[in-house]
C-alpha cells in the first residue's frame, strides 16, 4: 500500500490524479491518492506531487494554508519523496533567477531555476527528450516552462534540451520543467513510485 498526495491548491491536479491512478494499475500496486489542502492529510502520505499551475499562486497558498513548514519538515526529518512538475519544480528550488516578492518556496533542491525561461505562452512547445536510464525518448510538454540554470551539491541531472537542464533528482526529490501529467506516458510517475518505495 502506498499513499500519494497531490498538492491540491491550484493547477493540473486532476491530470496528475488520473495518470497516477493509471500508473498504480499498471504496476499492480494498491495505492490511495489524496488531494492535499490541509495539514492533517499531509501527514498521511508517503509521497507528494506538486503539480503544474501558477507558481506564484501555489506558493502563496501553501504559505497561507500553513502547509509550507510541514512539507519542509517532512522532507528534512522523514525523507518524504516529492515530485514537482513545472510550477512544482520552481517551488522546490533553492534559488530563483529574478525572484518576485513574497514567493514562499519549499527550497530543498540544490538548483537554480529561471522562471518562464523560454518566453511567454506562444513560445510553449512539445518535444521528445532523452531522460537518463529511460530507454526511449519521453514526450515532454513545456508550458511557459522554467529552465534549471545550474545545480550543485547532491543534485543529479537527468535530462537536458541542448544545453539547458530540464529534469533533476536529489535523493528522493524529483523535479522537471515539463508536464508528464499532460501525456499518457506513465514512465515518470512509475519512476516516482519507485523512489517512494525505496
Amino acid at each position: 500500500m502506498v499513499d500519494i498526495g497531490i498538492l491540491g491548491v491550484q493547477g493540473a491536479i486532476s491530470e496528475h490524479k488520473a495518470i497516477m491512478e493509471k500508473t498504480l494499475k499498471e504496476l499492480e500496486i494498491n495505492g490511495r491518492i489524496y488531494i492535499i489542502k490541509d495539514r492533517d492529510t499531509l501527514n498521511k502520505i508517503d509521497g507528494l506531487i506538486i503539480p503544474g499551475g501558477e507558481s506564484t499562486t501555489i506558493s502563496k497558498m501553501i504559505y497561507r494554508l500553513k502547509l509550507l513548514e510541514i512539507i519542509i519538515d517532512r522532507i528534512e526529518d522523514e525523507d518524504l519523496a516529492v515530485m514537482g512538475t513545472c510550477a512544482g519544480c520552481i517551488i522546490l528550488a533553492k534559488k530563483i533567477v529574478d525572484p518576485v516578492e513574497n514567493l514562499h518556496l519549499i527550497s530543498v533542491i540544490d538548483m537554480e531555476v529561471h522562471r518562464n525561461a523560454f518566453g511567454r505562452q506562444r513560445e510553449s512547445f512539445e518535444q521528445f527528450v532523452n531522460i537518463k536510464n529511460f530507454e526511449k525518448p519521453f514526450p515532454a510538454v513545456f508550458i511557459r516552462a522554467p529552465i534549471i540554470t545550474r545545480t550543485w551539491g547532491n543534485c543529479k541531472i537527468l535530462s537536458r534540451i541542448d544545453d539547458s537542464i530540464i529534469m533533476v533528482q536529489q535523493d528522493k526529490l524529483l523535479a522537471m520543467s515539463f508536464h508528464p501529467e499532460l501525456t499518457d506516458d506513465t514512465r515518470i510517475h512509475r519512476y516516482f513510485i519507485n523512489l517512494i518505495k525505496n
Binding site: 493547477g11 486532476s14 501558477e54 499562486t57 518562464n116 525561461a117
Partner: protein
C-alpha cells in the same frame, strides 16, 4: 533561452493550448486596467490577469464601441507581473487577435464584452499559436467555439452587473446538456450536430441567399460535411469524458467569495472576476478572499470566514433593468 533553437520546436498545438488552460484550473483570473491593479491581483494569488482599458461595468455605463485595449496598456501590465496576461479581442476581429498575439499576450479572450466586429463569424482560432478563451450560454455555443479552436470555455454570464444569475443559468445550461449527451445514442448526436452547426448554415444563407449542400464551405475552408463530422466527434468525446474537452471557467457577474464558490460547486474549473474586484470597496482583501474561496469552494466554514468584513461589494444591477444584454452577442 539562447541555447535552445526555438524555431525547431513544435508550438501552438492543441495539447499546448489546452495544456495552458489546464494550468489555470482552480484559479481566479482578474480584470485589471492598470499595472497597479495587476500587481494587487498577482499579490492576492490570481493565476492570471485580463488586461483591459475599461472594466465591463464602465463599458456598460459609458457606452460607445468597446474595442481591444491600447497595446501599450497591455504591454505595461505584461512588464509588471510574472503571471500570464490575457487580453480581449472583439468577436470575429481576427486582426485585433493577430495584434494581441504579436505583442505576446498569453491567451486571447474573444469576448462579447467588446462590441462584435463580424456579424457572421467568430475568429478561426485554429490559425493562431496563442490559445483562445470564448464565452458560451449553452452547449451548442461551447461546442462551436471548441471546434473553431478555443482552448478554454467560460460562461458568458452578464458582465458588469455583479449579478450571478446569468452565469448560473449558463453553467446549468451546459452541464444539463452534457448529462443529456452522455445518454444519447449516435443517431441523436448526429441530429444534435446538425442543430449545432445551424448558425454557420444561416450565415451562409444570409450572405448568398442560397441553400447549403454537403460540399458548401460554411466556415473558412471547412465544408458542411466536415464541420458536421467534427462537431459529432466533439460530442462523442463529451459523451465519453462526461464534461467539456477543454477547461471551463465561470464569468459574468461574480462579485463575492460565495459567488465564486457556487460556480465551482456547479462544476466550473475556475473563475474570471471582472468588475467585481476593482469596483468594490476593498479590492485587495476581496481579491484574496475570492482566491481562497475558489481553493476551498467545498468548505462552507472557509467561505464564511473569508467573507467577513470585506466592505461593500460592487453595487450590481438587476437583469430586468438592463437595456443591453452583452450575452446575446456571438452566435
Amino acid at each position: 533561452m539562447k541555447n535552445v533553437d526555438l524555431s525547431k520546436l513544435r508550438h501552438g498545438t492543441t495539447l499546448i493550448k489546452r495544456g495552458f488552460a489546464k494550468m489555470q484550473k482552480g484559479g481566479v483570473i482578474m480584470d485589471v486596467t492598470t499595472p497597479e491593479q495587476a500587481a494587487i491581483a498577482e499579490e492576492s494569488g490570481a493565476v492570471a490577469v485580463m488586461a483591459l482599458e475599461r472594466v465591463p461595468a464602465d463599458i456598460r455605463k459609458e457606452g460607445g464601441v468597446a474595442r481591444m485595449a491600447d497595446p501599450q496598456v497591455i504591454q505595461n501590465i505584461m512588464d509588471t507581473v510574472s503571471i500570464p496576461v490575457m487580453a480581449k479581442a472583439r468577436i470575429g476581429h481576427f486582426v485585433e487577435a493577430q495584434a494581441l498575439e504579436a505583442i505576446g499576450v498569453d491567451m486571447i479572450d474573444e469576448s462579447e464584452v467588446l462590441t462584435p466586429a463580424d456579424p457572421f463569424y467568430h475568429v478561426e482560432k485554429r490559425l493562431f499559436t496563442v490559445p483562445f478563451v470564448c464565452g458560451c450560454r449553452s452547449l451548442g455555443e461551447a461546442v462551436r467555439r471548441i471546434w473553431e479552436g478555443a482552448a478554454m470555455i467560460r460562461t458568458k454570464g452578464e458582465a458588469g452587473t455583479g449579478n450571478i444569475i446569468e452565469a448560473v443559468r449558463h453553467q446549468r445550461m451546459v452541464s444539463t446538456m452534457i448529462k443529456m449527451v452522455s445518454e444519447t445514442d449516435d443517431e441523436g448526436l448526429e441530429k444534435l450536430s446538425g442543430e449545432y452547426i445551424q448558425s454557420y448554415v444561416d450565415a451562409f444563407k444570409t450572405l448568398t441567399n442560397q441553400d447549403v449542400t454537403k460540399d458548401t464551405r460554411i466556415f473558412g475552408d471547412y465544408t458542411y460535411e466536415t464541420v458536421k463530422e467534427e462537431i459529432f466527434e466533439i460530442l462523442k468525446e463529451i459523451q465519453k469524458i462526461n464534461r467539456l474537452p477543454v477547461v471551463n471557467f465561470a464569468a459574468g457577474g461574480i462579485a463575492t467569495p460565495a459567488d465564486a464558490a457556487i460556480m465551482m460547486q456547479l462544476g466550473s474549473d475556475g473563475v474570471f472576476v471582472g468588475s467585481g474586484i476593482f469596483k468594490s470597496e476593498n479590492p485587495a482583501e476581496r481579491a484574496r478572499a475570492i482566491v481562497e474561496a475558489v481553493t476551498h469552494y467545498d468548505d462552507p466554514k472557509v467561505i464564511a470566514e473569508v467573507s467577513k468584513n470585506l466592505g461593500e461589494a460592487m453595487r450590481g444591477i438587476e437583469i430586468e433593468n438592463l437595456t443591453q444584454h452583452l450575452q446575446e452577442r456571438g452566435w
